[in-house]
């Protein structure tokens, strides 16, 4: 028996760090309107734990963590029972890892002849608010014309193949995927550990298509915190939907199957858009401050809309430059549509020419990508001047099933439809 366990370590930390930690916990866990319902109160009282189970999946409206590892899979089976087995095994592992526990029989098995179920690099670390969020891609319902799992009729109409946008340079090896899992945590080792273990469980049923690491959240869902900055150095996501804003979430994020004409399995779910947006960092850095601010539509220092003095001053779109980013993406320019952004910066080393291979891994959740994401992206791809500094190199759209209830498993409503 090792002296320090993950639970044990945390227990000591919470006891000695006192009120500050407890306060953070109340904010991180208690303030969840979406995912908290249905969680078992007996176990989930730790500030580093976001409940895995609830009416919506965690990792959407829950507070944004600092780090991300997102992975897309292709299924290598045509057997629905094998997918059910995978999702049950994933649910069990996700349930444990998000609670700071080891996968299966743990990292140190009783038999030394046995490879450990858990890969071990998270031993001794707190869960750091790990969330795991599953999405289902178009290829799940239909692949090369085949109704692979007998679920073609369950494909939501809004789960489209995203159209080509002006300037897209999509790499097939960074695009699409039958499934996606977004892991977010405050410690990158925790996010990577989670994905690594899910990948391992999937061997034989699903293969990794691509994966992406991200750091430095570029939007928050906690408006009272400082708005984070993206790699252009600007505050990003000032008007994002807040975790506590249940009205906006209901209006713009969560699918209402009856109203939306969606299959009932998706009720309480949403859609996830991911775009790997490479930034031309070096040319941006040589752009004058004035031009940078004109391109974005906000000041660099405070994040105030141009012409205003405070970050949270009301945006008057007609006062902003016509081709500026904020003017084009603002709800007032998009029939009132909001999307919930949850993106991260990435730097994947350098490109061999001495330039950073860096940018924004854009993630957004919305109720209907056809009316929310596509028109907005079509507009900015062709109209905004910022596009000169951006190249979209990866893309994906997935339907995100509702949350997992007690005793249930991921996407159960779909697989048992």
């Amino acid at each position: 028996m090792s002296a320090i366990t993950r639970r044990g370590l945390f227990g000591v930390g919470a006891a000695t760090a006192g009120a500050a930690v407890a306060g953070a916990g109340a904010l991180a866990v208690g303030g969840l309107p979406a995912s908290g319902a249905g969680a078992s109160a007996a176990t989930w009282t730790r500030p580093d734990v976001v409940p895995f189970r609830g009416s919506h999946q965690a990792g959407i409206a829950t507070p944004v963590q600092d780090r991300m590892h997102t992975v897309a899979f292709d299924l290598s089976t045509s057997d629905r029972a094998a997918v059910v087995r995978l999702f049950k095994a994933w649910t069990d592992a996700a349930n444990r890892m998000t609670a700071g526990q080891e996968v299966g029989e743990g990292a140190i098995p009783a038999l030394e002849e046995s490879p450990p179920d858990d890969t071990g690099e998270a031993l001794g670390l707190p869960a750091t608010r790990l969330t795991l969020t599953l999405g289902i891609g178009p290829g799940f319902f239909e692949s090369e014309g085949a109704d692979r799992f007998g679920l073609r009729s369950q494909r939501p109409e809004a789960l489209i193949e995203l159209p080509r946008f002006a300037g897209d340079k999509l790499d097939p090896l960074r695009t699409g995927g039958d499934l996606v899992v977004q892991a977010c945590a405050d410690d990158p080792q925790i996010a990577v550990h989670a994905i690594r273990n899910l990948v391992r469980i999937a061997f034989g049923t699903a293969t990794v298509r691509w994966s992406q690491l991200g750091f430095g959240k570029t939007s928050s869902t906690t408006p009272n915190e400082m708005t984070p900055r993206n790699l252009f150095g600007f505050k990003d996501g000032t008007e994002n939907i807040g975790a506590a804003d249940t009205d906006l979430l209901a209006q713009h994020v969560w699918v209402d199957a009856a109203k939306d004409g969606s299959p009932s399995w998706l009720d309480g779910g949403t859609f996830m858009v991911a775009r790997r947006i490479a930034m031309r960092i070096e040319t941006w850095d040589r752009t004058s401050l004035g031009e940078q601010e004109q391109l974005i539509g906000r000041t660099k220092q405070s994040g105030a809309p141009l012409g205003s003095s405070q970050e949270r001053d009301k945006v008057h779109i007609e006062a902003l430059p016509p081709a500026s980013h904020v003017r084009l993406v603002h709800p007032d320019s998009n029939d009132g549509h909001h999307i919930l952004r949850r993106g991260y910066s990435f730097v994947d080393g350098s490109d061999g020419l001495g330039r950073l291979d860096a940018g924004l891994f854009f993630i957004a959740f919305c109720r209907d990508p056809r009316t929310q994401y596509v028109p907005m992206q079509r507009k900015i791809a062709s109209q905004e001047l910022l596009a000169e500094y951006l190249v979209h190199t990866g893309s994906g759209l997935w339907a995100v099933p509702p949350g997992v209830g007690e005793g249930g498993y991921w996407a159960q409503s779909l697989l048992e439809a």
Binding site: A42, T43, L111
Partner: protein
């Protein structure tokens, strides 16, 4: 066993020595922990953070004696204790007659593989001496098959593998390079048999040495199973990437030989696995068959060396092979434990 706020009850409190798995079902409304303790209070095994309504497995190896199973609902206090009694001598894994039979048959298989490689290496030696490049190339590839299907046994000796199968990229500064891959480089890159006799002679001598050592090689059920896993590791790290046969591109021949050797181990141990872990046996049957299907899809004929040059295999086929290797290697890594727990 069931655990709750008031109970900590294994279905069976009189156990037989050996490996025991406790299937713990937390039927209570609080999280709990479970410990298996020796009479002196030290821990044999433990599971923590067992949430309400969840099930976990705790596997421990117990020798004869008294033990305590302790549950700590709510993770507080001393918890609830139940005594268990373990009787009988721990059966050594080797005592399983089925494993002894498997080891004997495997030793015969390894000897036959080495003998096959030796016979063909002698023909390769003759072709090189005669300056017959085309024949030497054919024999080079053929002579690898027996070796590649039994390689982990030779690797266990430590000294033979580096002398026989080292790749140029693995050399240390100042190290003399010998073995198959020197001959490979000469035949394919220099397109000549010149200067290779020295290496062919040494290879033949190494193989004769190997054959003399097989009868006394340390082989048991667990090492056989681990050897099968290592063969798949070889495939995953060397063959899928095309690094093993950098000049001849005969990687798929080695690939098939590795898989054949691993399958042989599984077939020999299967009577044991079917008993101890029937699900694992089924999964291995399925994943071996799936990988073989991918290999059959690219092969050019039924012969052990009838495979295309790996540099002509497209990415889609390589992706399929890689996925099938991962699908097999994961359950295969559990074979050793399944054998160890069979007794």
């Amino acid at each position: 066993m069931k655990a709750s706020e008031t109970e900590c009850t294994p279905d069976n409190t009189a156990l037989t020595a050996g490996v025991t798995t406790f299937n713990v079902d937390n039927v209570g409304s609080k999280g709990t922990e479970i410990y298996i303790l020796r009479p002196n209070g030290s821990t044999v095994g433990e599971r923590e953070n067992i949430g309400p309504g969840t099930k976990v497995k705790l596997t421990v190896e117990l020798t004869a004696g008294e033990y305590v199973v302790r549950c700590r609902p709510g993770d507080i206090g001393d918890g609830i204790k139940t005594s268990i009694k373990v009787t009988g001598a721990t059966k050594a894994v080797q005592a399983d007659a089925r494993i002894a039979t498997a080891v004997t048959e495997y030793r015969t298989y390894v000897a036959a593989g080495a003998a096959d490689s030796l016979k063909l290496a002698k023909e390769l030696q003759a072709a090189i001496a005669a300056g017959d490049l085309a024949k030497a190339k054919t024999l080079y590839v053929q002579s690898r098959v027996g070796w590649e299907s039994t390689e982990p046994v030779a690797e266990a000796f430590g000294d033979l593998d580096p002398e026989m199968d080292l790749r140029e990229a693995d050399l240390e500064a100042g190290q003399k390079w010998t073995g198959w891959h020197v001959i490979e480089k000469g035949l394919w890159e220099k397109k000549s048999t010149a200067g290779l006799s020295e290496y062919a002679d040494k290879l033949v001598a190494n193989l004769e040495d190997l054959i003399s050592r097989v009868p006394t090689a340390e082989i048991n059920g667990t090492s056989m199973a681990n050897g099968a896993k290592e063969l798949l590791d070889e495939v995953a790290t060397g063959k899928i990437t095309g690094e093993e046969e950098a000049f001849s591109h005969a990687d798929l021949v080695d690939f098939q030989a590795n898989v054949t050797g691993a399958k042989k181990v599984f077939d020999l141990l299967k009577p044991v696995v079917v008993d101890s872990q029937p699900d694992l046996a089924t999964q291995l049957d399925t994943t071996f068959a799936a990988l073989q299907k991918e290999l059959d899809a690219v092969r050019t004929g039924p012969g052990v060396t009838e495979f295309p040059s790996y540099d002509t295999v497209d990415k889609a086929s390589r992706d399929k092979l890689a996925a099938a290797v991962d699908a097999l290697a994961e359950p295969l890594s559990h074979l050793a434990a399944a054998v160890a727990t069979s007794a």
